[in-house]
């Protein structure tokens, strides 16, 4: 904890606008009261989350050091939330609405990264910043310093409206319908702290996109996705939005549904408000796993949900803010610092410029100007680099910087003739890496580095892939260079693996009594069309074989693609069975004795564990039958995918359900040698032995995955749509993953012989 914490309030007096200044005073008091044990830990946890102060891995005071699980003996007693120790370092998320930043804010970010964190500021896939290793008692000072330059962390985490994102090119984009910045700004500040948004059961995400076909806004994977649209009404061109609701990634991804083909601009704020009100009123509150808006829309049906929203809209008291911003949309118009100019053809350029220009420079719709992408490895930037970027910002543009959902930053409105100088200055600061938006620009969530839920090292893998691919990217065929890789450390999808050409999410497997880090391979997601389609998992590969997997899949694509055939189309054409057979041999895990490196994750040196699971008593080379049984279940879910692909939703549903049934049986056999394989009995025993005992509970998702099976069992005779069958397959995959994890936990427990 910093010795200067108590001094910042006075130092920044008068520089923080109300009501933020008062809110931060209250927050500081809450920190002090919790420290004294005068606020309940659960209440304080929600309080700090709503201020963006999040937990970080090992904050329960337990860490496996590779040999043994050890207790982290922090000096201060007490907690900052359930199972979250007071002294344990945490993560601070900082909201950057639509990614917009100025030079002063960038400099403050540098100071905070240096003074409170580890010298690194990290950009997330939702245009936020994150700082790690933050002490809770430093957070009020840190937040005040941000507030003094106009940044709030309010509602950056918790059950609230999260950062409102928008495509980073909006306003300068050649294909946009119009600039969505003023709309994103208006909705951000309208909903921030709004009383109608304080009683959600889960988080709520909003994204804007300037056009329908490009990818940057990713509108269709959000709770609200607003895509700029125009319509001619009474001879006048009116602005509005193609308005989507109920999308989301997470464990079971869902495409947003079209709420309104054309929502007039003046209805953007009130309709969003009514959606929030209906969500707060009817959304699930007890079971976090079904509390996102997508579940409510599915439960009610789109028509009924829409009817409720429209009814609610009629009851709202008119608010001048709904339309006030429309009379001054130009407030957010950016201006260039320099007159437009053309990039001069020079006989000699700086080495590396041409490659960088090819991938990192975008010609704006405004002639003579370019947007420059500063490619950040894994979204990381140092304090020194942030200051250098602030210098470049001041010298070449007028505070027109944005963060991107691909974890980079962009400088907009660079006069094109300045590009060589900008490149030179960025390069001097280590910010001149080429390859933005290519296969080497791998996106990754924090994974096991800092996230409490991480299963495999997404950053470790991404760093390795980036390193290998960066070297080769300029000799690669363009078809491969333009693919996108995204990696998540677990099924929660923060790395957005569902919308990548090649997506990976962390899972684990058991081999000979050891736990082995793996990644599920997800192919054929669509980044275009605002995240227009999600990929499906084809199998789990040991982490250490993912680079080979990438090489093999891209190699096959290059060899087999037809002229102009895109990756998704190729995946669709060859079918899932061929995709799976492409990686079949890579799924094998060599023995621990011969290849111990498979049992250590990327960028780590410890023997891999999940939680505190070490080497079980069945260490050795005896393979437990359950490993085979769970592998068979995976095959069944795969066959379910094939059936769905062949248009047989009923068979797909049956296979997905049976894979869960067989997984449940396999686990039960570990507990009790004899029972009938009648599905009702299996479901009953599963509930009694594994759900009621909480043995199947995921440490973070609770009984969610168990309920997938029990629900599928109850509804096994109902007809299914393609969408429901697809969802059931996703659920079955997660159930099997949870079965692997449950088995790992069972190995740590004495076997019950209850028959």
């Amino acid at each position: 904890m910093k010795a200067s914490n108590s001094l910042w309030k006075q130092k920044l007096a008068g520089r923080i606008a109300e009501p933020l200044a008062s809110e931060l005073d209250v927050y500081e008091n809450e920190v002090a009261l919790r420290r004294q044990g005068k606020i309940d830990e659960k209440v304080f946890a929600e309080t700090r989350l709503r201020r963006g102060a999040y937990g970080q891995r090992y904050d329960n005071g337990q860490r496996h050091d590779g040999i043994t699980a050890r207790k982290l003996e922090f000096p201060t007693a007490g907690t900052k939330g359930p199972s979250t120790l007071w002294d344990a370092p945490g993560m601070q998320r900082i909201k950057i609405p639509y990614g917009g930043m100025n030079a002063e804010q960038i400099e403050v970010m540098a100071e905070l990264a240096e003074e409170y964190s580890d010298g690194i500021a990290h950009i997330t896939t939702r245009q936020d910043f994150q700082l790690h290793f933050i002490h809770i008692e430093d957070t009020p000072a840190l937040m005040r310093r941000l507030a003094a330059v106009g940044i709030t962390t309010r509602e950056a985490c918790g059950n609230s409206v999260r950062n409102v994102t928008a495509c980073h090119l909006t306003g300068v984009c050649r294909t946009q319908t119009f600039d969505v910045t003023p709309y994103a700004h208006a909705l951000t500040y309208f909903l921030l702290g709004h009383p109608d948004c304080q009683d959600f059961g889960r988080k709520f995400k909003i994204a804007f996109s300037g056009c329908r076909t490009e990818a940057c806004g990713l509108a269709r994977m959000h709770d609200i996705g607003a895509v700029a649209a125009t319509r001619e009404i009474d001879g006048q061109v009116k602005r509005g939005f193609e308005f989507y609701i109920g999308g989301g990634l997470g464990t079971v991804p869902q495409q947003a549904r079209l709420f309104e083909e054309f929502l007039p601009e003046e209805e953007l704020l009130p309709i969003s408000q009514s959606i929030c009100r209906v969500f707060a009123r009817l959304g699930e509150k007890k079971n976090r796993n079904t509390a996102r808006l997508k579940f409510l829309v599915s439960k009610l049906g789109l028509d009924e949900f829409k009817r409720l929203v429209c009814e609610d809209r009629k009851t709202l008291t008119p608010d001048p803010r709904w339309t006030a911003f429309l009379s001054d949309l130009g407030t957010h118009d950016e201006a260039p610092l320099k007159p437009p100019s053309l990039l001069q053809i020079a006989p000699v350029r700086d080495p590396g410029f041409d490659e960088w220009y090819k991938t990192n420079v975008y010609s704006q719709r405004q002639g003579g100007y370019s947007t420059v992408t500063v490619a950040l490895p894994l979204g990381d930037i140092t304090a020194d680099q942030l200051r250098a970027l602030a210098d470049v910002t001041r010298k070449y543009v007028k505070d027109t910087v944005r963060t991107t959902v691909e974890q980079n930053m962009v400088l907009r409105w660079v006069s094109s003739g300045d590009l060589p100088a900008v490149y030179r200055e960025l390069k001097a600061a280590g910010l001149g890496e080429p390859g933005a938006g290519t296969i080497a620009d791998v996106v990754s969530c924090p994974g096991t580095d800092t996230c409490k839920l991480g299963i495999s090292s997404s950053r470790g893998l991404s760093g390795e892939l980036r390193w290998r691919l960066a070297e080769k990217q300029f000799v690669m065929d363009e078809a491969i260079r333009n693919l996108r890789i995204k990696v998540s450390g677990c099924f929660n999808s923060c790395g957005q693996h569902h919308v990548a050409d090649l997506g990976f999410y962390g899972v684990s497997r058991n081999k000979g009594g050891y736990t082995v880090p793996h990644f599920q391979v997800v192919l054929g997601g669509q980044w275009d069309n605002n995240a227009g389609a999600y990929g499906l998992a084809i199998g789990a590969v040991p982490s250490k074989r993912i680079p080979d997997t990438v090489e093999r899949i891209t190699g096959r694509y290059l060899a087999e693609r037809q002229t102009g055939e895109r990756f998704q189309a190729w995946i669709k054409r060859i079918g899932k069975a061929a995709c799976k057979s492409m990686i079949d041999d890579l799924t094998a895990v060599p023995a621990h004795d011969t290849s111990p490196e498979f049992y250590v994750d990327w960028a780590d040196a410890r023997e891999y564990t999940i939680g505190d699971i070490g080497i079980g008593e069945c260490a050795g080379e005896v393979v437990n039958p359950i490993d085979f049984q769970l592998a068979a279940c995976e095959r069944e879910t795969f066959e379910a995918q094939l059936a769905l692909e062949a248009g047989d939703a009923a068979r797909a549903r049956m296979l997905a359900y049976e894979s869960m049934l067989h997984g449940a049986s396999a686990l039960l056999k570990q507990r009790m040698p004899m029972f009938s394989d009648d599905p009702d009995q299996v479901a009953g025993l599963f509930r009694e032995q594994l759900v009621d005992t909480q043995l199947f509970h995921d440490p973070f998702a609770g009984p969610k995955f168990a309920h997938y099976f029990l629900k599928a069992h109850e509804r096994r005779n109902e007809a299914v749509t393609d969408t429901r069958a697809h969802q059931l397959i996703e659920e079955a995959q997660l159930f099997i993953e949870a079965s692997h994890a449950c088995y790992a936990r069972m190995r740590q427990q004495p076997v019950s012989t209850k028959a």
Partner: protein, 171 residues
Amino acid sequence: MQHFRVKVFGRAAEGFELHQAIPVFHRWIQTNALPELLIDVADYSHVPGGPGVLLAGHDSHYGLDLRKNRLGLLYIRRTAQDGSTADRLRSALAAARAACEKLVQEPEFAGKLSFDFDEIEISVNDRLLAPNIPESYQELADELGAVLDGYTFRHDGEPRDLLTVLAVRAH
């Protein structure tokens, strides 16, 4: 003044590989190699001019650091300490020196990494307690003069940097 940051510049010989710090730092956690609570290891070797490989602790972070594109052992004091400024400086310098001595003995780095202590960078990782102005520099240089014998001092860096003194051993 509080929260000192000390960087001892190092020299890499043939065969040195930064990522070897990952197993070394994990081992330090396993063996309680330092007399303080160590938490985790963070790999930032992908960031040009970045923190390299970091050993994160409760009271302090240690790192095999690449900032300003110079390899060195970086010690960062995070929590506040009792005692005088000179006491805290001594403690930070001693912690950095101990880590350097330990690091060069590790099998991964033996003969491949050295620290000669000819140049040491000392900063105050708190802009409010020590603004980067000539007066604070003078105060820090005076304190350093009392604890670092045989060095000359220079106010280093640019105005936005942490208050930083470069200590160069007089030969």
